[in-house]
Subunit: 221 residues, 2 copies
Amino acid sequence: MRTSYHEELDSILDRLVHMAELVEVAIREGAESLLTADLTRAESVISNDVQLDKMHEEMEYKCLSLLALQAPVAGELRIIVSAIRVVFELARMGDLAVHVAKIARLRYPNQAVPARFEDSFREMAAIAIEIVRLARVSLQERDAKGAEQLVAIDERMDLLRREQFTMLLGDNSDISIEGAVDVALLGRYFERFADHAVAVGRRVIYIITGQVPEGEDWPNA
Amino acid sequence: MRTSYHEELDSILDRLVHMAELVEVAIREGAESLLTADLTRAESVISNDVQLDKMHEEMEYKCLSLLALQAPVAGELRIIVSAIRVVFELARMGDLAVHVAKIARLRYPNQAVPARFEDSFREMAAIAIEIVRLARVSLQERDAKGAEQLVAIDERMDLLRREQFTMLLGDNSDISIEGAVDVALLGRYFERFADHAVAVGRRVIYIITGQVPEGEDWPNA
């Protein structure tokens, strides 16, 4: 009984890592579909999200069942309680990738992102992919130091977002209403990718140390 | 020992209800500051959010401690695990109210909301306040039926959001870039209030029934 219980705990961590890999793909493909106006890619991000939602439901059910049936303590309890939150954060990132892909689809065959915002969104996409990758690696290697790095990357994302607002509302802005709405919402979605990754990092640190990092440096994303 | 433990469980539920009341105030005041360009009100929503963030941290710490120290089972375990999620959802709603108030402050002394969108946002605000109130009452009275009503209210919010896009991008739209950006983001924030309330409803149902409602009708907000 105990063996199979420990196998279940290991399998939860493995599945979190696998889910994070799928989320990384969703973000990369969503961003690519946006920046290359690739309808097929956009459709595939949208339809693949079913799998992430399904994993979310299954993992949540499994974790709640383990809590109910095994009455885990200490480190095991931390893993299960954290897993419930991490699958939620990952599933939200998948939803955001769908939002990005839907804007790409809505504007197809045009580019949703106005030309002068392309570099900015390309950088945001790179940051989002990097922060999710680091969150996954910190989980995989149970590396609290790695998880701490996420906050600095999140700050780069916030800076890019502020720059986008300056560009949007600057005097020489010749953007359309549609373009402005897309930029505002897309900027929000990319910013949220990073926030959710930071939240995953918080849980990784909690799994390892038993302490939830708090305060200014650790926004409750 | 058991008595004080049960007192702690009751106090968790009481504090969730109290936190939901504060969130309702934050949403109402945030919306009022927005719709009346009231700087004092906006500032107060922004500064009061510290309290919600503090409650979030304290409650999360308390719940994780109870899990670690008491090894609760069955209904008690469900309350604690759900409370961790509910405080998170409530704190996010508080953050969104701050986002709304910050847009009001940014545009002061002007109205952030363009005149022709005022009715729409007034209705969104009323829906947001109502859905949070119902989520709180369902929690207070442990009323699963009440929690189920949240989904229908959420749909009204989504409909309003779609109408806003139609108005924004319609042929006779004479809105400024700034106005369009504000409407797009504010619409998103109000939509998210409802999503988070629905997520609270899911947890109320889980506390009562032991089942997490799933599927199309219960988006994993």
